[in-house]
Amino acid sequence: MRTFGWSELWFIVAAAKWTIALSAIAFAGGTVVGLLVALARTGGIALLARIATVFTQIFQGTPLLLQLFLVFFGAPILGFEINPWLAAAAALTLNSGAFLGEIWRGCIQAVPRGQWEAAEALSLSYRWRMRAVILPQAFKIAVPPTVGYLVQIIKGTSLAAIIGFTEITRAGQIIDNATFQPLIVFGVVGALYFVLCWPLSLWAWRLEKRHARALTR
């Protein structure tokens, strides 16, 4: 039987790169989907807004794990070749798209009405109204909650372990099966996530405080 040593520790630490890579992809994909959702819900076209709302409700109202399973087991049936990597990336993209879309919708709507009216009074087209007036201001409001949501994405990637993608949690399970030292193994796994997430949480918290101060001035 193996005991937990440096090479076992390194195996888990090295798996962090897959957690980070998966988080980055989910965030990048989620940004695109989320922006589309947020724009659809605020754009004033009833049909698009309806579709985006239903999309959001479905992804916020069902477990991420089941979304992962549906992509993983459903994609081959619909004729796509899939591996745990792709399935995790796709499911996390859609899931974070729904949540980010909901956050950003709030931020876009938080831009004061006068700004919308001013942009309209200048007869700016929708594109320019959003690009030059609304989105830059919404962006400022959106930064703290978005950084906070990054923590949720990183934690969400742990579920990819269940369909066999070797990131931190799965690496921990593999080492645990070989060493039977769950206390230290899952202690290390938890500590690694903490090291990844805690700075982001702190950053989000500080941004939020700075933002709150800016508003009270």
Binding site: L64, L66, T169, G187
Partner: protein, 223 residues
């Protein structure tokens, strides 16, 4: 597309699905109740406890909020038995859910407590209310009313993340789905049905929480 969907085998297992749904509801509601209790105690400790207690509570909150639920579950189910704390999958699932919700809900309730105007607490003191009465009626209840939407969406998130406990083979809805899947090989169909059940559950929980609000917290306030 040549795939033929076959739901009949999935629906034939409806007693199992029903049982799994019931376990998920039971697990979620129990964890919500206990987690809320933990959170109220921690929120009290964090807003008016001694310095060392605040430090401990902060450590607990940050530790839980910055690690995945799955890892917490593994820790409770695999790691703690190694130091002599043995429990069934069901208990381990419940404990991880309570501990998880406790941390998130503490922060939400604390925000509500800090939003209570000082004058309101002073009014309570002026009325010669006891300390626990002030906390219970003057601070906690209005605080819960203020943060109710954030709190209940956290409850629903907890119910959804309870699907994760299926990995330690508890007997919840997702575990049932995994069992049906391994017997019928109709994985896509099973997971579609179960996902729809979860969606219905989150809508039902939402309605339930609205009802609770109407019954207990729907009193006029000045804001």
């Amino acid at each position: 597309m040549t795939y033929r969907f076959q739901f009949d085998q999935v629906f034939a297992a409806w007693p199992h699905l029903l049982h799994g749904t019931w376990i998920t509801i039971q697990l979620s509601l129990t964890a919500t109740g206990l987690g809320l209790l933990v959170a109220i105690l921690c929120a009290w400790g964090k807003t008016s406890g001694p310095g060392w207690l605040r430090y401990v509570i902060n450590a607990y909150i940050e530790l839980i909020r910055n690690t995945p639920f799955l890892v917490q579950l593994f820790f409770f189910f695999f790691a703690l038995p190694a130091i002599g704390l043995r429990w069934t999958p069901h208990t381990a699932a419940l404990v991880s859910m309570v501990v998880n919700l406790g941390a998130y809900a503490t922060e939400i309730i604390r925000a509500g407590i800090e939003a209570i105007p000082k004058g309101q607490i002073e009014a309570g003191l002026a009325l010669n209310l006891k300390h626990w009465e002030i906390f219970r009626f003057v601070i906690l209840k209005p605080a819960l009313k203020t943060i109710y939407p954030a709190l209940t969406s956290q409850f629903i998130l907890l119910m959804l993340s309870s699907s994760v406990v299926s990995v330690i083979s508890a007997d919840d809805l997702t575990s049932v789905a995994a069992n049906i899947q391994s017997e019928t090989f109709r994985s896509f169909e099973v997971y579609i049905v179960v996902t729809v059940i979860y969606l219905a559950l989150s809508l039902a929980f939402n309605a339930l929480f609205k009802l609770v609000y109407q019954t207990y917290l729907n009193y006029p306030d000045r804001r």
